[in-house]
Structure formats: C-alpha cells, structure tokens
C-alpha cells in the first residue's frame, strides 16, 4: 500500500471523513486510556473511603475497648471496696442495733417495774378483801 502522503503530513481522515491531526487509532486508544484512568481514579477514591471508614471503625472499637477496660478496672476496684462498705454498713447497723437494744433494756426495766406494781396492787386487793 502506498504511503498516504497525508499521513506523513500528520493528517488523517476518520470514518466520517473528517480531517484529523491525530491518528484515529491513537485517538481511540487515548480515549480508552482516559476512560480507564477515570475508572482507576474512581476506584482508588472508593478504596480510600472504605479504608477511612475502616480506620474510623477500628478507632471507635479501640475507644470502646479502652472504656470497657476502664469499666472493668473500676468494677474490680468497686468489688474490692464492697467488702469495706459492708463493714462500714455493718458498723452503722451495729450502732443502730445497740441503740435499739438499749431502748429495749429500758422498756424491759419499765415493764418489770410495772409488773411489780401490779403484783403489789393485787396483793393489796387480796389483803383488803380478806380483811373486809
């Protein structure tokens, strides 16, 4: 095939017989490349987004883990102190019981005194009836 003089001059015709400076093949390949590049960029972007989300999520998880860890430590400490608290509570209750016990003792003495008075009065009544 004879060399196309136009091609040498760097001019080409496309299918629609329009004059072009670039070889239609090249042009087509370029366009393809462009498309592919665009695709690639898109994909990379998407990837980045996904990775970002992942990192965030991992971070959150880390935070959560940290929190739980603290919670666990707190709970452990609290558990340790419960014994102490119990002791204090027991002490308080013990004091209240002692108080009530004292009150009970007072009531017991009062009751005894009243019983004695009752007995005395009964005795008096009996005596009185006997003498009458």
């Amino acid at each position: 095939m004879a060399k196309d003089p136009l091609a040498d001059a760097g001019l080409h015709f496309d299918e629609l017989n329009k004059l072009r400076v670039l070889d239609p093949d090249v042009s087509q390949k370029t366009t393809e490349l462009k498309e592919e590049c665009k695709d690639f960029v898109d994909k990379i972007g998407q990837f980045q987004k996904i990775v970002g989300g992942l990192i965030e999520m991992v971070d959150e998880l880390a935070k959560e883990a940290e929190k739980e860890k603290m919670k666990a430590i707190g709970a452990r400490n609290l558990l340790k102190s419960v014994a102490k608290q119990r002791e204090a509570q027991q002490q308080q209750l013990q004091a209240l019981i002692a108080e009530k016990r004292m009150q009970l003792e007072r009531y017991r003495i009062e009751y005894e005194a009243l019983s004695k008075v009752e007995a005395e009065q009964n005795e008096f009544i009996d005596q009185f009836m006997l003498q009458k």
Binding site: Q91, Q92, A95, L96, E99, M102, E105, R106, Y107, I109, E110, A113, L114, K116, V117, E120, Q121, F124, Q131
Partner: protein
Amino acid sequence: MVATSCAHKELVSCVGWITADEVYSCSEDHQILKWNLLTNETSVVVKLQEDIYPIDLHWFPKTVAGKKQALAEIFALTSTDGKFHLLSKTGRIEKSVEAHRGAVLASRWNYDGTALITAGEDGQIKIWSKSGMLRSTLAQQGSPVYSVAWGPDSDRILYTFGRQLVIKPLQPSSKSLQWKAHDGIILKVDWNSVNDLILSGGEDCKYKVWDSYGRPLYSSSPHDYPITSVAWAPDGEVFAMGSFNTLRLCDKTGWSYALEKPNTGSVFSLAWSADGTQLAGACGNGQVIFAHIVEQRWEWKNFEITLTKRRTMQVRNVLNDAVDTLEFRDRVIKASLSHGHLVVATALQCLVYSTKNWNTPLIFDLKEGTVSLILQAERHFLLVDGGGIYVYSYEGRLVSAPKFPGMRTDILNAQTVSLSNDTIAVRDKTDEKVVYLFDAQTGKPIGDGKPLTHKMEVMEIALDQCGASKDRKIALIDKNNDLYLTSVRRLGREQSMHKIGSMVHTMAWNDSANILCGIQDNQFTVWYYPSAVFVDKDLLPNTLFTKDASEFSSAPHILNYTGTQVTVRRADGSLVYSGVPPYPTMLHEYTGSARWEEALHLCRFAKDQALWACLAGMAMANRELNTAETAYAAIREVDKVQYIKFIKDLPSKESSLAHILLFSGQVQEAEATLLQAGLIYQAIQIHIDLFNWDRALELAVKHKTHVDTVLAHRQKFLQDFGKEETNKRFLQYSEGVEVDWEKIQSKIEMELAKERERAANSSVRSSVASHR
C-alpha cells in the same frame, strides 16, 4: 426524723439560726447560704472573697436581759486567716478584725451581747467589745484552743486546752479551774445556762457531761469516730452530738434518746433553734442536715400522748383504746399533760384541751413565740417565755404575771419554778439562796414582799398542791442536799425552816394530798405528813415510809407522784414505777374534812404505826385532842398522852390553847396567848416548868406578881441539884422577898380558881370546842 439537703460544693464548717425557721450556713466554697425551712428555699446570701475560709459563726444574741431587741442583725464569722468578721444579715462585712496568728477557731457572744470571745490556733483567748475593739487577752497557752463557751452568768468562760478543760473567771484575781477531761484532744465544748452543765466531746470518741465544778456526771462509751460537735438545746433538757455519719440526741443525764446514721460525713457544727425543737448540722460532704424532735411522750393517768409528727399528736386512752389525733397549725414547741388538761404551746398559739373532750380546744395567741416552760396546777397553769412568767386559767384568761427585779426567764426550769393553786415560787438566779413567792391570783409578792431566804444555795423548790392557802408549804433542797420545809404565808412570825431530810437528791409532792416523796441517799422515802414538824418534831421520823431504792440505781430523778404511783427516771433513761400505800391519801382526805371517826377507823383497819403517827400529828394540828390522845396511845407515846390529858383538864380555853402551842414547841406564842387573856400566873408557870428562870422572873417583876413564886421554885430547883445561886438578878430579888410556901400555894390556888370561874362564865356564853 432527719431531712438533709445538699447545696454547698465543699465542706460546710458552721451553721447558725437567725429566726425559728431560717438558718445561715457557711462553707469552704466561700458561700453563705440561707435556708428557709417553711418554704424549703435556699438562697445564696453572699459569696465571700476567695481568701476567706470560714470556721465558726455565731449570731448576736436576740434577747438581752429580758428585753427583746430589734432583731439580731449581725453575726461573727471567724476564718482561717486569723481574722474575725462582723457581718450583717445581708452578708455585708461590717468589720474585719485581725485577731489571732493562725486560724481563729471559735467565737462566742456572751448572753447579754456586750462581749465577744475568740479563740485561736495560737493558743490565745481574746475578749472584744461589741464593735470589735480588743478588751483583753484572757489566756495564753501553748496549744490551739478548739472551742470556747460562756458560763451562765457571762462571768466565766470554759475553753479547751489539749485534753483538759479550763474554767476561767473574767475577774483577773479569781482562780481558774482546770481538769483533765478526755484521753484525746477535746474538739468541742458547750455550757448550758439553764442547768449549768458542761458538755465536751473529743478525739477519744467520747462525749461527757460535767457539772460546773468539773465533777463528771456522765461519760459515753467510745464511738467509732471522734466527736466533732456537741450542742445543748436551749432549755437544757437534751443535747445533740455529732460525729462521722452520726447524729445523736441525748438526755441531759447522758443517756441517748435516738441515734441517726445519715450519710453526711462528719458533722462539724450543730446549732439548735431558739425554741429547742429543731437542729441544724454542718456536714463534711457539703450538706446541711436538719433534724427535729418527734416521738415525745406524755402520760397522765389513763392517757398517753405522743408527738407523732411536728404538728400532730396522737392521744390514746389506755382504758378503752380510743385514739384521737390532734392537728396543729404550727410546730409544737412545748406541751404538758396533768390535772385533766393538756396544754400545748405551738410557735404562735397556746391550746388547752380537756381530757374529757379532745375535739374543741381553747385557743389563744401567744405574745412571744418561744415558750420555754409549762407548769400545771389544778386551777391554772403557768407559761414561761422570753418575756416573763404568765399564769393562765384553763379558760384561757390571763390571771397574773408576777415580776421581780432582775428576773431572767430564759434560765428558769422546772426545778427553780413551782406552782400551786394559790402560790408561785421562783428561785432567784443572781442569789440562789433567795426564793420569791407570789400570789397566783394577783401576781403580787406574798406577805410583806420580802422573799424567802435560805442559808444555803437552793437547788430545787416545790410547793404542796392541796389544802387551804394559809397552810401552803414549800419544800426545798439546798446545795448540801438537805430537804427543808417551811410555810409560805407566815403571818408576821419569824420564818421557821425545818429540816426534814438529808442527802435528798430529788423530790415531788403528791397531786391529790400533801404527801412528799423523795430519794434520800439510797432509800426511797415518803413523808406521809411532812407538816408534822410544825406540830411535833419527834413525830416526823414515825410518819415516814421507806423503801429500798436500789431498783432505781444511781442518780434517779422523780418525774411525778400521781395518786399512789411514783414515776422515777433512772440515770440510764428507763422509767421505773413504784407504788405507795393508798391509806395516807385517804387519811388526808378524812382529816381534811374533819371526819375524825372515819380517820380513826381507817388507822385501826390499816394497823400501820406510821399512819397512827400521821393521825396524831393531824389531830394535834387541828386541836382535836380526843383523836390525838387515841393516836398517841397507839404509837405508845405515853408522855404525850399524859400531856394531852392534862390539856383536856385545863379549865380555860386560853390555857389549853397555850398548852397546845407549847406542845408544838411554840413557847413565845403560848406566852403571848396567856398574857393576852390576863393569865399572868399561868404564863409565869410555863416558864418555870421549862426552867426558863430569867423570863419567868422578868414577867413576875414586870407584872408585880408572883415574884416569890418564881423565887421559891428557883430555890427548890437549886436545892434539888445541890447548887448555889449565881444569877445576879435572882440574888438581888431574893434579898427583899421572903419565901413562904404556904402563902404561895394558896396564891396559886386562888389564881386557878379565878381562871375556872372565868372559864365557867365564858363557856356559858360560848361552848368551847376543845371542852367537849
């Protein structure tokens, strides 16, 4: 019952009441808050400068010497930077004074508001004038003074010195009193003006009660944490004590009424409201705790009343289990149940209920809010508030308002005031030997207006409740614990105080008869007829009823003596009852209405020597010779029976009266009676019989008769005892007078005949009661 509220961000260091329902509190967050308990509102009064850390607060006293001031508007606030500040009610700092090096730990106004005392970390105690000028440095020591309190008369102060307590009089010359009080550093002290008792709490976790001589009265068992605050209620009946998560209410004898365990941290400061019903505490966790007293109980006969809430009382009739509920508009401050009436003083009103009808009380308004004492008698009752003493009838009418110079009503208590149907007795505070007596109807002093003065300080007084007003007697216990009895209305005669008991710590009159009971040393004693001392002193020991008092343990206090039952409060707070035989009450009733036959009958029935002795005394007091003779015979007092027989045989009314007086040892009165009747010989003879020679001679010489009789008897007396005449007057008169026994005998016969004749004449005109 306790309610807490939280408002401060930091530890609250001090609280103080301004009115009955408003409290100021200061905290280390530099704020002063005002709490209104009626509306439950809290407002910030002021925010202090950042460098002021308050420690102690004390309001200027409201009442000064019985007069009400234009409300106390300032308070003293001490701080850690060594200053004290005088602040107005609005929180404006009126004055700041550089007082101590290091923190000022305590400040207190005295009772009349003329002086402020401050105590600092530098161990100094300083007195300041009302305006904040330094008067003097009272004491200086090597360790911080944590707390300070004024004595009841503002003439002494009490302060802490490490583990010791010191009472220092303000007069520089007088000696101070110092004693070791606790095993740890003492953190708080308080001194009550009404009962003169001292309260201390320290790091040895104990609180103790002392009298003003430093003698220990009570020591608590150790607590778990140091006692950080103590405070007397104004009336001195109870006190509050604060510690870590602990608030306790105790009786003045130390035993505890109630314990609360609020979650507040340490209670650093406690303050009672002026009416003594509410308590505020400053807590370590920024809370201010408010407490008020409930579950107070009154008992009388078959009624039992409980204060269930601040404004609600529950009345229970034990006989039929009927329950009534009484609701009040305001807080109940004081109440008293006795003699068939319940008297309740609330913040604004006084309500009088009859035990027969709980639905319709009688209501009247009170002049001044805070009633500090209610006493009841059968016909009326007595109210004491900051302004005076008032007697009201149960119909709500103001009967009288007695007054005396220098009266301070804020320090009166049931031991120093006594009320009966016709008389009021009040012990003076400035001179404790003096007892003022007033007529309850008029409020005027009795008799010549001179108060009753005893030779010792009087600790407790009590008027008897029954009988006629002319026979009113007052029993008093003095500082030596001797019990005395004297008559209230003494008709110009010199007062005669009769000692009827010793080592008596507590006493009470019966409500329905004039019977006195008391605890004498370790014996429970009942004086069936205390007035026997006025008739026949020897009779008194026979009229006693004693019982072993070991069941009352140590230091008991008699609460009341109603009917035949005595109620005693033991030192540990338990109530103990003890019965007294019912006969003496009946005997009092019979003799009171002159039913002598029945009285004799009762004595014969009861077969009790003490009862016979009582009857003897009562009969003699009423000049009922026949009964007296029988009674004296029953207790085997032969000499007295003889004498009564002799009196009965006397010819005239006057001489028998004189001999009855003589029987009771009232020689002067007997002589006066005879002289008034013109029976001069009889008067002389009395003195001769008593070997009262000088007076006999004096009378004989004065009336120019029977000088020889006196001389003759004197000679005979001297001869019998083999003595020489040494009396100059007798020597002088015996020179000129011849002693002729026959002449004397005939003269005596003549006198007696004359008297018989006169009596015969008069008995025709009026039948004489004593000659039945």
